[in-house]
Protein backbone atom coordinates (compact mmCIF):
# COMPACT_ATOMS: atom_id res chain seq x y z
CA UNK A 1 0.00 0.00 0.00
CA UNK A 2 2.81 2.39 0.84
CA UNK A 3 4.33 2.00 -2.63
CA UNK A 4 0.93 2.46 -4.27
CA UNK A 5 0.41 5.62 -2.23
CA UNK A 6 3.82 7.06 -3.08
CA UNK A 7 3.43 6.35 -6.78
CA UNK A 8 -0.01 7.96 -6.95
CA UNK A 9 1.03 10.92 -4.80
CA UNK A 10 3.96 11.56 -7.12
CA UNK A 11 1.57 11.59 -10.09
CA UNK A 12 -0.75 14.02 -8.32
CA UNK A 13 2.14 16.36 -7.47
CA UNK A 14 3.32 16.22 -11.06
CA UNK A 15 -0.11 17.03 -12.44
CA UNK A 16 -1.09 19.76 -9.98
CA UNK A 17 1.38 22.27 -8.58
CA UNK A 18 -1.11 23.18 -5.89
CA UNK A 19 -0.52 19.86 -4.14
CA UNK A 20 2.38 19.32 -1.73
CA UNK A 21 3.57 16.35 0.28
CA UNK A 22 5.17 16.82 3.68
CA UNK A 23 7.40 14.10 5.10
CA UNK A 24 9.31 13.48 8.31
CA UNK A 25 12.03 11.19 6.88
CA UNK A 26 9.69 8.17 6.81
CA UNK A 27 9.17 7.04 3.18
CA UNK A 28 11.42 9.85 1.87
CA UNK A 29 13.24 7.29 -0.30
CA UNK A 30 9.99 6.67 -2.20
CA UNK A 31 9.73 10.37 -3.07
CA UNK A 32 13.29 11.00 -4.29
CA UNK A 33 12.34 11.40 -7.94
CA UNK A 34 9.33 13.56 -7.12
CA UNK A 35 11.47 15.73 -4.87
CA UNK A 36 14.07 16.18 -7.58
CA UNK A 37 11.41 17.17 -10.11
CA UNK A 38 9.33 19.34 -7.75
CA UNK A 39 11.49 20.49 -4.84
CA UNK A 40 8.92 23.06 -3.67
CA UNK A 41 6.17 20.43 -3.47
CA UNK A 42 8.02 17.64 -1.66
CA UNK A 43 9.00 18.91 1.79
CA UNK A 44 10.94 16.72 4.20
CA UNK A 45 11.10 18.48 7.58
CA UNK A 46 13.26 15.84 9.25
CA UNK A 47 12.15 13.94 12.33
CA UNK A 48 9.86 16.73 13.52
CA UNK A 49 6.28 15.51 13.64
CA UNK A 50 4.76 18.60 15.23
CA UNK A 51 6.31 20.63 12.44
CA UNK A 52 5.18 18.05 9.89
CA UNK A 53 1.52 18.61 10.69
CA UNK A 54 1.81 22.36 11.26
CA UNK A 55 3.64 22.87 7.96
CA UNK A 56 0.81 21.00 6.27
CA UNK A 57 -1.60 23.36 8.04
CA UNK A 58 0.43 26.37 6.92
CA UNK A 59 0.43 25.13 3.34
CA UNK A 60 -3.36 24.87 3.52
CA UNK A 61 -3.46 28.49 4.71
CA UNK A 62 -1.47 29.33 1.57
CA UNK A 63 -4.25 27.58 -0.36
CA UNK A 64 -2.25 24.50 -1.29
CA UNK A 65 -3.59 20.97 -0.74
CA UNK A 66 -1.16 19.30 1.68
CA UNK A 67 -0.56 15.58 2.17
CA UNK A 68 1.30 14.86 5.41
CA UNK A 69 2.73 11.39 5.81
CA UNK A 70 4.56 9.43 8.46
CA UNK A 71 4.24 6.51 10.86
CA UNK A 72 0.77 6.39 12.43
CA UNK A 73 1.52 7.00 16.13
CA UNK A 74 3.80 9.95 15.37
CA UNK A 75 1.37 11.46 12.90
CA UNK A 76 -1.80 11.09 14.92
CA UNK A 77 -0.83 10.76 18.57
CA UNK A 78 2.36 12.81 18.95
CA UNK A 79 0.99 15.62 16.82
CA UNK A 80 -2.67 15.35 17.76
CA UNK A 81 -3.01 18.94 18.97
CA UNK A 82 -1.53 20.09 15.68
CA UNK A 83 -4.21 18.09 13.86
CA UNK A 84 -6.87 19.59 16.08
CA UNK A 85 -5.78 23.22 15.87
CA UNK A 86 -3.79 23.65 12.66
CA UNK A 87 -6.53 22.48 10.29
CA UNK A 88 -10.13 22.63 11.47
CA UNK A 89 -9.65 25.42 13.98
CA UNK A 90 -8.05 27.46 11.17
CA UNK A 91 -10.96 26.75 8.85
CA UNK A 92 -8.75 24.62 6.59
CA UNK A 93 -8.20 20.93 5.99
CA UNK A 94 -5.58 18.53 4.73
CA UNK A 95 -4.81 14.93 3.92
CA UNK A 96 -2.96 12.77 6.44
CA UNK A 97 -1.57 9.40 5.35
CA UNK A 98 -0.13 6.95 7.84
CA UNK A 99 1.67 3.64 7.74
CA UNK A 100 2.08 1.16 10.56
CA UNK A 101 -1.58 0.70 11.50
CA UNK A 102 -2.32 -1.19 14.73
CA UNK A 103 0.57 -3.66 14.87
CA UNK A 104 2.22 -3.88 11.46
CA UNK A 105 5.72 -3.74 12.88
CA UNK A 106 5.07 -6.20 15.66
CA UNK A 107 8.77 -6.50 16.52
CA UNK A 108 8.81 -2.75 17.13
CA UNK A 109 6.13 -3.14 19.77
CA UNK A 110 3.94 -0.50 21.37
CA UNK A 111 6.01 2.52 20.33
CA UNK A 112 4.96 1.87 16.75
CA UNK A 113 1.39 0.65 17.31
CA UNK A 114 -1.53 2.97 16.61
CA UNK A 115 -4.84 1.23 17.32
CA UNK A 116 -6.27 4.49 18.75
CA UNK A 117 -5.98 6.62 15.61
CA UNK A 118 -9.50 6.30 14.20
CA UNK A 119 -11.04 6.81 17.64
CA UNK A 120 -9.07 10.05 17.93
CA UNK A 121 -10.38 11.32 14.60
CA UNK A 122 -13.89 10.65 15.89
CA UNK A 123 -13.26 13.39 18.47
CA UNK A 124 -12.80 16.00 15.73
CA UNK A 125 -15.47 17.33 13.35
CA UNK A 126 -15.30 16.84 9.62
CA UNK A 127 -12.57 14.26 9.14
CA UNK A 128 -13.15 11.36 6.77
CA UNK A 129 -11.24 8.14 7.41
CA UNK A 130 -10.19 5.77 4.64
CA UNK A 131 -8.89 2.28 5.49
CA UNK A 132 -7.99 0.44 2.29
CA UNK A 133 -8.01 -3.34 2.36
CA UNK A 134 -5.79 -3.77 -0.70
CA UNK A 135 -3.07 -1.78 -2.45
CA UNK A 136 -5.30 -1.36 -5.51
CA UNK A 137 -7.80 0.54 -3.36
CA UNK A 138 -5.21 3.14 -2.37
CA UNK A 139 -4.95 5.32 -5.51
CA UNK A 140 -8.68 6.01 -5.87
CA UNK A 141 -8.99 6.69 -2.14
CA UNK A 142 -6.05 9.09 -2.29
CA UNK A 143 -7.65 10.84 -5.24
CA UNK A 144 -10.89 11.23 -3.28
CA UNK A 145 -8.99 12.59 -0.32
CA UNK A 146 -6.98 15.10 -2.31
CA UNK A 147 -9.75 16.30 -4.62
CA UNK A 148 -11.93 17.51 -1.78
CA UNK A 149 -11.88 20.38 0.66
CA UNK A 150 -12.61 18.08 3.58
CA UNK A 151 -9.99 16.62 5.88
CA UNK A 152 -9.09 12.99 5.26
CA UNK A 153 -7.05 10.38 7.09
CA UNK A 154 -5.79 7.52 4.95
CA UNK A 155 -4.66 4.57 7.07
CA UNK A 156 -2.29 2.28 5.19
CA UNK A 157 -1.28 -1.16 6.43
CA UNK A 158 0.89 -4.11 5.53
CA UNK A 159 -2.16 -6.29 6.24
CA UNK A 160 -4.45 -6.71 3.25
CA UNK A 161 -7.11 -8.85 1.64
CA UNK A 162 -6.33 -11.12 -1.30
CA UNK A 163 -8.23 -8.94 -3.76
CA UNK A 164 -9.61 -5.41 -3.91
CA UNK A 165 -13.20 -4.82 -2.83
CA UNK A 166 -15.60 -1.97 -2.46
CA UNK A 167 -16.87 0.84 -4.59
CA UNK A 168 -15.19 4.19 -4.42
CA UNK A 169 -18.21 6.08 -3.13
CA UNK A 170 -18.00 5.18 0.54
CA UNK A 171 -20.96 2.83 0.52
CA UNK A 172 -21.12 -0.57 2.20
CA UNK A 173 -20.60 -3.38 -0.30
CA UNK A 174 -22.36 -6.67 0.38
CA UNK A 175 -19.94 -9.54 -0.16
CA UNK A 176 -22.07 -12.34 1.30
CA UNK A 177 -25.78 -12.42 2.15
CA UNK A 178 -27.47 -13.97 5.18
CA UNK A 179 -30.26 -13.33 7.67
CA UNK A 180 -29.02 -13.52 11.27
CA UNK A 181 -26.66 -10.55 11.40
CA UNK A 182 -24.86 -7.94 9.35
CA UNK A 183 -21.11 -8.22 9.77
CA UNK A 184 -19.36 -5.03 8.67
CA UNK A 185 -15.69 -5.69 7.92
CA UNK A 186 -13.43 -2.67 7.66
CA UNK A 187 -10.39 -2.67 5.35
CA UNK A 188 -7.86 -5.47 5.69
CA UNK A 189 -9.97 -7.66 8.00
CA UNK A 190 -12.48 -8.62 5.29
CA UNK A 191 -10.80 -11.89 4.33
CA UNK A 192 -10.68 -13.02 7.97
CA UNK A 193 -14.29 -12.00 8.52
CA UNK A 194 -15.42 -13.86 5.41
CA UNK A 195 -13.56 -16.99 6.44
CA UNK A 196 -15.03 -16.73 9.92
CA UNK A 197 -18.56 -16.36 8.52
CA UNK A 198 -18.26 -19.01 5.83
CA UNK A 199 -20.66 -21.45 7.49
CA UNK A 200 -22.81 -18.86 9.27
CA UNK A 201 -26.11 -17.39 8.05
CA UNK A 202 -24.94 -13.78 8.10
CA UNK A 203 -24.48 -10.90 5.71
CA UNK A 204 -20.91 -9.67 5.35
CA UNK A 205 -20.49 -6.12 4.08
CA UNK A 206 -17.23 -4.34 3.34
CA UNK A 207 -16.13 -0.76 3.63
CA UNK A 208 -12.84 1.01 3.19
CA UNK A 209 -14.52 4.29 4.18
CA UNK A 210 -15.41 3.91 7.85
CA UNK A 211 -15.85 7.69 8.19
CA UNK A 212 -18.31 8.81 7.34
CA UNK A 213 -19.81 5.37 7.85
CA UNK A 214 -22.52 4.50 5.33
CA UNK A 215 -25.23 4.71 7.98
CA UNK A 216 -28.08 4.60 5.47
CA UNK A 217 -26.68 1.38 4.06
CA UNK A 218 -26.18 0.00 7.55
CA UNK A 219 -29.78 0.77 8.53
CA UNK A 220 -30.99 -1.04 5.43
CA UNK A 221 -28.82 -4.12 5.98
CA UNK A 222 -29.58 -4.21 9.70
CA UNK A 223 -33.33 -4.14 9.01
CA UNK A 224 -32.93 -7.24 6.89
CA UNK A 225 -30.85 -9.11 9.49
CA UNK A 226 -32.81 -8.71 12.70
CA UNK A 227 -31.15 -5.41 13.59
CA UNK A 228 -28.17 -7.46 14.66
CA UNK A 229 -24.82 -5.90 13.76
CA UNK A 230 -21.20 -6.93 14.16
CA UNK A 231 -18.41 -4.42 13.54
CA UNK A 232 -15.04 -5.99 12.68
CA UNK A 233 -12.44 -3.22 12.76
CA UNK A 234 -8.64 -3.33 12.44
CA UNK A 235 -8.25 -0.70 15.15
CA UNK A 236 -9.40 -0.23 18.74
CA UNK A 237 -12.37 -2.43 19.59
CA UNK A 238 -15.59 -0.45 19.88
CA UNK A 239 -14.34 2.54 17.89
CA UNK A 240 -17.56 2.57 15.85
CA UNK A 241 -19.92 1.51 18.61
CA UNK A 242 -21.22 5.03 19.27
CA UNK A 243 -21.95 5.62 15.60
CA UNK A 244 -23.75 2.29 15.16
CA UNK A 245 -25.73 2.91 18.32
CA UNK A 246 -26.76 6.37 17.10
CA UNK A 247 -27.61 4.98 13.66
CA UNK A 248 -29.99 2.40 15.14
CA UNK A 249 -31.20 4.39 18.14
CA UNK A 250 -34.84 4.25 16.96
CA UNK A 251 -34.91 0.43 16.98
CA UNK A 252 -34.14 -2.34 19.41
CA UNK A 253 -30.82 -3.71 18.17
CA UNK A 254 -27.79 -5.75 19.17
CA UNK A 255 -24.18 -4.84 18.48
CA UNK A 256 -20.97 -6.83 18.83
CA UNK A 257 -17.72 -4.92 18.43
CA UNK A 258 -14.64 -6.87 17.39
CA UNK A 259 -11.33 -5.07 17.16
CA UNK A 260 -7.91 -4.53 18.66
CA UNK A 261 -7.74 -4.82 22.44
CA UNK A 262 -6.64 -1.88 24.55
CA UNK A 263 -4.16 -3.85 26.64
CA UNK A 264 -0.45 -3.54 25.93
CA UNK A 265 0.52 -7.11 25.07
CA UNK A 266 4.33 -6.73 25.42
CA UNK A 267 4.75 -9.43 22.80
CA UNK A 268 6.84 -9.40 19.62
CA UNK A 269 6.52 -11.75 16.64
CA UNK A 270 4.70 -10.82 13.45
CA UNK A 271 1.61 -8.81 12.57
CA UNK A 272 -0.15 -12.10 11.89
CA UNK A 273 0.76 -13.17 15.41
CA UNK A 274 -0.78 -10.00 16.84
CA UNK A 275 -3.87 -10.43 14.72
CA UNK A 276 -4.30 -13.83 16.35
CA UNK A 277 -3.48 -12.52 19.84
CA UNK A 278 -6.21 -9.90 19.49
CA UNK A 279 -8.67 -12.50 18.21
CA UNK A 280 -8.79 -10.98 14.76
CA UNK A 281 -7.80 -14.03 12.77
CA UNK A 282 -10.57 -16.11 11.19
CA UNK A 283 -10.67 -18.45 14.15
CA UNK A 284 -10.94 -15.66 16.70
CA UNK A 285 -13.59 -13.72 14.79
CA UNK A 286 -15.53 -16.96 14.19
CA UNK A 287 -15.58 -17.79 17.88
CA UNK A 288 -16.89 -14.34 18.76
CA UNK A 289 -19.56 -14.53 16.04
CA UNK A 290 -20.81 -17.95 17.14
CA UNK A 291 -20.97 -16.87 20.75
CA UNK A 292 -22.88 -13.73 19.85
CA UNK A 293 -25.36 -15.62 17.67
CA UNK A 294 -25.52 -18.60 20.06
CA UNK A 295 -24.89 -21.13 17.32
Amino acid sequence: MREAFAARAAELIDADHGIAIVLAEISADLFQDAAAAHPDQVINVGIREQLLVSVAGGLALAEMRPIAHTYAPFLVERAFEQIKLDFGHQGTSGVLVSVGASYDWAEGSNTHFSPRDVALFDTLPGWRVFVPGHAAEVPPLLDRAVRSDQGAYLRLSLRHNSTRHGRNDGSLTVVKEGTRATVVAVGPLLDNALAAAADLDVTVAYTNTPRPLDTAGLRDLAARTGNTVVMVEPYLEGTSAAIVSRTLSDRPHRLLSIGVGVEELRRYGTAADHERLHGLDAEGIGARLRGFLAV
Binding site: H17, G18, A20, V22, D40, Q41, I43, V45, G46, R48, Q50, L51, S54, V55, A56, G57, G58, L59, A60, L61, A62, E63, M64, P66, E81, Q82, L85, D86, H89, Q90, G91
Partner: protein, 227 residues
Protein backbone atom coordinates in the same frame (compact mmCIF):
# COMPACT_ATOMS: atom_id res chain seq x y z
CA UNK B 1 -11.33 54.32 10.22
CA UNK B 2 -7.75 55.55 10.16
CA UNK B 3 -6.28 56.48 13.47
CA UNK B 4 -3.07 57.79 14.93
CA UNK B 5 -0.77 55.81 17.14
CA UNK B 6 -2.17 57.49 20.25
CA UNK B 7 -5.78 56.93 19.21
CA UNK B 8 -5.09 53.28 18.46
CA UNK B 9 -3.29 52.72 21.74
CA UNK B 10 -6.34 54.15 23.46
CA UNK B 11 -8.49 51.65 21.59
CA UNK B 12 -6.32 48.83 22.91
CA UNK B 13 -6.59 50.12 26.47
CA UNK B 14 -10.33 50.50 26.36
CA UNK B 15 -11.00 46.89 25.44
CA UNK B 16 -12.40 44.77 28.20
CA UNK B 17 -10.68 41.47 27.49
CA UNK B 18 -7.81 40.05 29.48
CA UNK B 19 -8.74 41.26 32.94
CA UNK B 20 -6.40 38.56 34.19
CA UNK B 21 -3.51 40.10 32.28
CA UNK B 22 -3.74 43.92 32.40
CA UNK B 23 -0.20 44.37 31.07
CA UNK B 24 -0.24 41.51 28.60
CA UNK B 25 -2.91 43.09 26.48
CA UNK B 26 -0.85 46.05 25.32
CA UNK B 27 2.83 45.10 25.53
CA UNK B 28 2.77 43.77 21.98
CA UNK B 29 1.20 46.98 20.73
CA UNK B 30 4.23 48.78 19.31
CA UNK B 31 5.64 46.04 17.06
CA UNK B 32 2.15 45.23 15.75
CA UNK B 33 1.49 48.93 15.13
CA UNK B 34 4.75 49.42 13.23
CA UNK B 35 4.08 46.33 11.12
CA UNK B 36 0.58 47.38 10.08
CA UNK B 37 1.38 51.08 9.81
CA UNK B 38 4.63 50.90 7.89
CA UNK B 39 5.64 47.42 6.78
CA UNK B 40 2.91 44.95 5.83
CA UNK B 41 1.44 45.06 2.35
CA UNK B 42 -2.16 44.30 3.27
CA UNK B 43 -5.20 46.14 1.96
CA UNK B 44 -8.19 45.97 4.32
CA UNK B 45 -10.40 46.31 1.25
CA UNK B 46 -8.89 43.12 -0.20
CA UNK B 47 -8.09 40.98 2.84
CA UNK B 48 -8.04 37.78 0.74
CA UNK B 49 -5.55 38.96 -1.89
CA UNK B 50 -3.31 35.89 -2.25
CA UNK B 51 -0.24 38.10 -2.65
CA UNK B 52 -0.80 39.96 0.62
CA UNK B 53 1.81 39.80 3.35
CA UNK B 54 0.71 37.61 6.27
CA UNK B 55 0.85 38.50 9.95
CA UNK B 56 0.35 35.54 12.28
CA UNK B 57 -0.26 36.43 15.91
CA UNK B 58 0.99 33.23 17.47
CA UNK B 59 0.83 34.48 21.02
CA UNK B 60 -2.94 34.66 21.05
CA UNK B 61 -3.23 35.65 24.69
CA UNK B 62 -3.93 39.32 25.18
CA UNK B 63 -5.07 40.22 21.67
CA UNK B 64 -6.34 43.69 22.57
CA UNK B 65 -3.40 45.40 20.92
CA UNK B 66 -3.89 43.34 17.78
CA UNK B 67 -7.64 43.98 17.66
CA UNK B 68 -7.09 47.68 18.18
CA UNK B 69 -4.63 47.93 15.29
CA UNK B 70 -6.94 45.94 12.99
CA UNK B 71 -9.83 48.22 13.88
CA UNK B 72 -7.68 51.32 13.44
CA UNK B 73 -6.64 50.14 9.99
CA UNK B 74 -10.22 49.47 8.94
CA UNK B 75 -10.55 45.70 9.05
CA UNK B 76 -13.63 45.92 11.29
CA UNK B 77 -15.56 48.62 13.17
CA UNK B 78 -13.98 49.96 16.37
CA UNK B 79 -17.32 49.40 18.13
CA UNK B 80 -16.55 45.68 18.10
CA UNK B 81 -13.91 46.38 20.74
CA UNK B 82 -16.50 47.31 23.34
CA UNK B 83 -17.93 43.85 23.95
CA UNK B 84 -14.96 41.56 23.45
CA UNK B 85 -15.61 37.98 24.51
CA UNK B 86 -19.33 38.53 24.99
CA UNK B 87 -21.58 35.75 23.69
CA UNK B 88 -22.36 37.78 20.55
CA UNK B 89 -18.88 39.12 19.87
CA UNK B 90 -16.64 37.95 17.06
CA UNK B 91 -13.65 39.00 19.13
CA UNK B 92 -12.60 36.49 21.76
CA UNK B 93 -9.85 36.43 24.32
CA UNK B 94 -8.08 34.36 21.67
CA UNK B 95 -8.50 35.44 18.03
CA UNK B 96 -10.41 33.23 15.61
CA UNK B 97 -9.43 33.55 11.95
CA UNK B 98 -12.81 32.28 10.81
CA UNK B 99 -14.64 35.06 12.67
CA UNK B 100 -12.51 38.19 12.43
CA UNK B 101 -11.59 40.01 9.22
CA UNK B 102 -7.84 40.50 9.03
CA UNK B 103 -6.98 37.74 11.50
CA UNK B 104 -4.93 35.19 9.56
CA UNK B 105 -4.70 32.37 12.13
CA UNK B 106 -6.73 31.21 15.08
CA UNK B 107 -4.33 31.16 18.02
CA UNK B 108 -4.19 30.87 21.77
CA UNK B 109 -2.46 27.54 22.27
CA UNK B 110 1.22 28.46 22.34
CA UNK B 111 3.67 27.07 19.84
CA UNK B 112 1.48 26.83 16.75
CA UNK B 113 1.91 30.13 14.90
CA UNK B 114 5.56 29.83 13.98
CA UNK B 115 5.30 26.26 12.64
CA UNK B 116 2.19 27.27 10.67
CA UNK B 117 4.09 30.28 9.33
CA UNK B 118 6.85 27.98 8.10
CA UNK B 119 4.26 26.03 6.12
CA UNK B 120 2.70 29.16 4.70
CA UNK B 121 6.10 30.59 3.73
CA UNK B 122 6.87 27.33 1.93
CA UNK B 123 3.46 27.36 0.26
CA UNK B 124 3.78 30.95 -0.95
CA UNK B 125 7.17 30.13 -2.41
CA UNK B 126 5.80 27.01 -4.10
CA UNK B 127 2.86 28.85 -5.63
CA UNK B 128 4.92 31.72 -7.01
CA UNK B 129 4.26 34.49 -4.48
CA UNK B 130 7.95 35.06 -4.02
CA UNK B 131 7.64 38.66 -2.82
CA UNK B 132 5.10 37.86 -0.13
CA UNK B 133 6.39 37.79 3.42
CA UNK B 134 5.12 36.01 6.51
CA UNK B 135 5.59 37.81 9.83
CA UNK B 136 4.79 35.90 13.00
CA UNK B 137 4.73 37.33 16.52
CA UNK B 138 5.62 35.08 19.44
CA UNK B 139 6.15 35.81 23.10
CA UNK B 140 9.43 35.07 24.86
CA UNK B 141 7.83 32.50 27.16
CA UNK B 142 6.07 30.97 24.19
CA UNK B 143 9.50 29.97 22.91
CA UNK B 144 9.56 27.38 25.70
CA UNK B 145 7.32 25.24 23.51
CA UNK B 146 9.40 22.66 21.65
CA UNK B 147 7.36 22.98 18.49
CA UNK B 148 8.96 26.41 17.95
CA UNK B 149 12.39 24.88 18.00
CA UNK B 150 11.48 22.35 15.35
CA UNK B 151 10.43 25.32 13.23
CA UNK B 152 13.45 27.50 14.05
CA UNK B 153 15.88 24.71 13.17
CA UNK B 154 14.14 23.77 9.96
CA UNK B 155 13.52 27.31 8.66
CA UNK B 156 17.14 28.22 9.30
CA UNK B 157 18.48 25.08 7.66
CA UNK B 158 16.51 25.61 4.45
CA UNK B 159 17.04 29.39 4.35
CA UNK B 160 13.37 30.36 4.41
CA UNK B 161 13.94 34.01 3.52
CA UNK B 162 10.28 35.05 3.32
CA UNK B 163 9.80 34.32 7.04
CA UNK B 164 10.23 36.94 9.77
CA UNK B 165 9.69 36.22 13.45
CA UNK B 166 9.03 38.98 15.96
CA UNK B 167 9.71 37.95 19.56
CA UNK B 168 7.89 40.26 21.97
CA UNK B 169 10.23 39.83 24.91
CA UNK B 170 9.01 41.03 28.27
CA UNK B 171 11.10 38.45 30.13
CA UNK B 172 7.98 36.57 31.13
CA UNK B 173 9.51 33.11 30.91
CA UNK B 174 10.37 31.61 34.29
CA UNK B 175 13.40 29.68 33.14
CA UNK B 176 14.48 32.19 30.51
CA UNK B 177 17.09 32.05 27.77
CA UNK B 178 20.64 32.45 29.13
CA UNK B 179 22.76 34.07 26.43
CA UNK B 180 19.76 35.80 24.93
CA UNK B 181 16.93 34.81 22.64
CA UNK B 182 18.53 35.97 19.39
CA UNK B 183 21.42 33.55 19.80
CA UNK B 184 19.00 30.61 19.55
CA UNK B 185 18.00 31.78 16.11
CA UNK B 186 21.45 32.83 14.95
CA UNK B 187 22.99 29.45 15.70
CA UNK B 188 20.36 28.00 13.38
CA UNK B 189 21.33 30.31 10.55
CA UNK B 190 18.88 33.17 11.01
CA UNK B 191 19.51 36.87 10.54
CA UNK B 192 18.80 38.50 13.91
CA UNK B 193 18.53 41.83 15.68
CA UNK B 194 17.51 42.82 19.19
CA UNK B 195 15.81 46.22 19.49
CA UNK B 196 13.72 48.16 21.99
CA UNK B 197 10.12 47.00 22.23
CA UNK B 198 8.77 50.55 21.73
CA UNK B 199 11.50 51.95 19.47
CA UNK B 200 9.52 52.42 16.28
CA UNK B 201 12.42 53.37 14.04
CA UNK B 202 14.55 50.47 15.25
CA UNK B 203 11.65 48.08 14.82
CA UNK B 204 11.07 49.42 11.31
CA UNK B 205 14.75 49.12 10.38
CA UNK B 206 14.88 45.55 11.63
CA UNK B 207 11.62 44.57 9.92
CA UNK B 208 12.90 45.93 6.59
CA UNK B 209 16.53 44.83 6.81
CA UNK B 210 17.30 42.66 3.75
CA UNK B 211 17.86 38.96 4.47
CA UNK B 212 17.82 37.42 1.02
CA UNK B 213 19.05 33.93 1.87
CA UNK B 214 17.79 33.27 5.40
CA UNK B 215 14.87 33.93 7.73
CA UNK B 216 15.04 36.85 10.12
CA UNK B 217 14.11 37.41 13.72
CA UNK B 218 13.54 40.70 15.49
CA UNK B 219 13.70 40.37 19.26
CA UNK B 220 11.67 43.31 20.53
CA UNK B 221 12.85 43.62 24.09
CA UNK B 222 11.05 45.41 26.90
CA UNK B 223 14.39 45.57 28.69
CA UNK B 224 15.79 47.93 26.04
CA UNK B 225 14.41 51.45 25.99
CA UNK B 226 14.00 53.62 22.91
CA UNK B 227 17.23 55.27 21.78
Amino acid sequence: MTATYEQTLELARRTVTDVRYPVVKTYTFDPIWVLYDRVLRIDPAHPDDPARDRFYLSKGHGPSAFYAVLAAKGFFPAEWLDDIASPHSRLGSHPDATLVPGVEISSGSLGHGLPLAVGTALGLRATGFTDTRVFVLVGDAELDEGSNHEAIQYAGAVGLANLHVVVADNASGTVGWPGGIASRFEVNGWSAATVGLTDHDALYRSFTEPHPDRPRVTVASAMLGPH
